[in-house]
């Protein structure tokens, strides 16, 4: 299986890429690591007429710590996985396999907006900010909560490039757990839960729960978060809170899972992720 024909150009700067993207019309696409786009193109589920390759944009690579953390869009999953970024690293380390992590990028993954991929739910739980740049250098900061619109649909405009992901606070500041359920190691998550907790003494000062693949977009399990806050992170609290993990979700069923089963998994994985968080740090 091979992609349909397309034209190809390499951009020298973000502005250059935006110009080339605009020239290419509505069927032009940006190419980063290519690990979301190329598989679709090979199966001919996507057929862009122009690819604008971002590979020369070295500015978009790397992790910068400046109080918070800023991660360039072209930073690979491997770099994120080994970047000491708390739950983000834990999640990135489970993406597909080493070869994919060597190529796939955080920006590509987020811009693709696949609810079954690992990172969107985590970025949502971390309340990350997605930075989009448009022609002339204008940037727009989009909170993760507003970014994921629907299945494979994000708030990114066709005239924008996702340039970085920012976190006001270093993700490693959170106690965390990442629990992912899949059939084989290299599979996408059937369901995944990221749990973030801050303790004040032994009381939960703050808690955030991200749900992956429980809907067409990543979700926050706010009922669980509320149930945790102010309590102790003990077995009883975790169980009671996690029982609400599937509230308000509409998980897509597939060959490997019914809706009921996914709701059940969300509850089980939530408890496990919280227990992991409780053990951590």
């Amino acid at each position: 299986m091979i992609p349909a024909e397309f034209d190809y150009v390499v951009a020298d700067s973000v502005d250059d890429a935006l110009g080339k993207l605009a020239d290419g019309g509505e069927d032009a696409k940006l190419l980063a690591g290519g690990h979301s786009l190329l598989p679709l193109m090979k199966l001919r589920l996507a057929a862009p007429t122009l690819l604008v390759d971002l590979r020369r944009l070295r500015d978009l690579e790397g992790i910068r710590r400046n109080g918070g953390v800023s991660i360039g869009a072209r930073t690979t999953h491997h770099a994120v996985a080994t970047g000491d970024l708390g739950v983000l690293s834990s999640a990135a380390a489970t993406i597909a396999d080493q070869q994919v992590r060597n190529r796939g990028t955080i920006g590509g993954s987020l811009a693709h907006g696949d609810p079954a991929s690992d990172l969107p739910g985590v970025v949502l739980a971390l309340e990350g900010t997605i930075v989009a740049q448009s022609a002339g250098g204008a940037t727009r900061e989009i909170p993760a909560a507003d970014f994921f619109r629907d299945y494979l649909e994000t708030a990114l405009e066709p005239t924008e490039i996702l340039t970085e992901v920012r976190f006001d606070e270093d993700p490693s500041a959170w106690r965390h757990g990442y629990e992912k359920f899949h059939r084989r190691q290299e599979d996408w998550p059937m369901v995944a839960v990221s749990a973030l907790v801050k303790l004040d003494g032994d009381v939960v000062a703050d808690a955030r729960i991200g749900l992956t693949h429980m809907s067409g977009v990543p979700l926050r399990a706010t009922a669980v978060e509320e149930a945790l806050k102010g309590g102790r992170l003990d077995a009883g609290t975790i169980k009671a809170a996690s029982d609400q993990a599937a509230e308000g979700t509409s998980p897509p069923a597939d060959l490997n899972a019914t809706e009921d089963y996914k709701r059940h998994l969300a509850r089980v994985l939530c408890a496990r992720a919280l227990r992991q968080a409780a053990r951590a740090g």
């Binding site: 091979i2 290519g34 080493q98 070869q99 060597n102």
Partner: protein, 162 residues
């Protein structure tokens, strides 16, 4: 559609070619350069038979465009060692019966080399985890895992870490 120039180094040799932009790196290596040791086993980046190294990192060359490798250095199984001078992983796969039909073998060896570059002394679990993106139907993986552990021991005897 346009053809695009590609200039890259493969196994230490410099090549310049013009390709259709959609040419997959694996087909470029096989059909344009005649390096047929890198194989294709699936359409979906699952099987890993096409694994080679791009600027030192293992990649699935069925999911990289040849044009994306412009300016890069590629290493394939043909660049690992010859019959007369085998790479320690090749030697270990031979010694431990780490292959049967041989089709997945180049990809397995290239993925294993990536692992050993990152973690010279992996334990069994780490080897299995690192080969999660490479499928084999013949060996049940048992002897592949054994071979990688043996190659690690042969090259870098140190303490085991996960």
């Amino acid at each position: 559609m346009s053809r695009v120039p590609v200039s890259l180094e493969v196994n230490g040799t410099h090549y310049e070619r013009e390709v259709e932009p959609r040419t997959l790196l694996v087909h470029f290596l096989r059909d344009d350069l005649g390096l047929t040791g890198t194989h294709v086993g699936c359409d979906t980046s699952n099987c890993g038979a096409c694994t080679c190294h791009l600027d030192g990192d293992a990649v699935k060359s069925c999911t990289v465009l040849a044009v994306q490798a412009d300016g890069s250095a590629v290493k394939t199984i043909e660049g690992m060692g010859t019959e007369a001078d085998l790479h320690p992983l090749q030697e270990a796969f031979w010694a431990h019966h780490g292959l049967q039909c041989g089709y997945c073998t180049p990809g397995m060896i290239m993925a294993s080399a990536d692992l050993l570059a990152r973690n010279p002394n992996p334990d069994e679990a780490a080897v299995r985890e690192a080969l999660g993106g490479n499928l084999c139907r013949c060996t049940g993986y048992h002897n592949i895992v054994k071979a990688v552990l043996a190659a690690a021991e042969a090259t870098q005897p140190r303490e085991v870490s996960a």
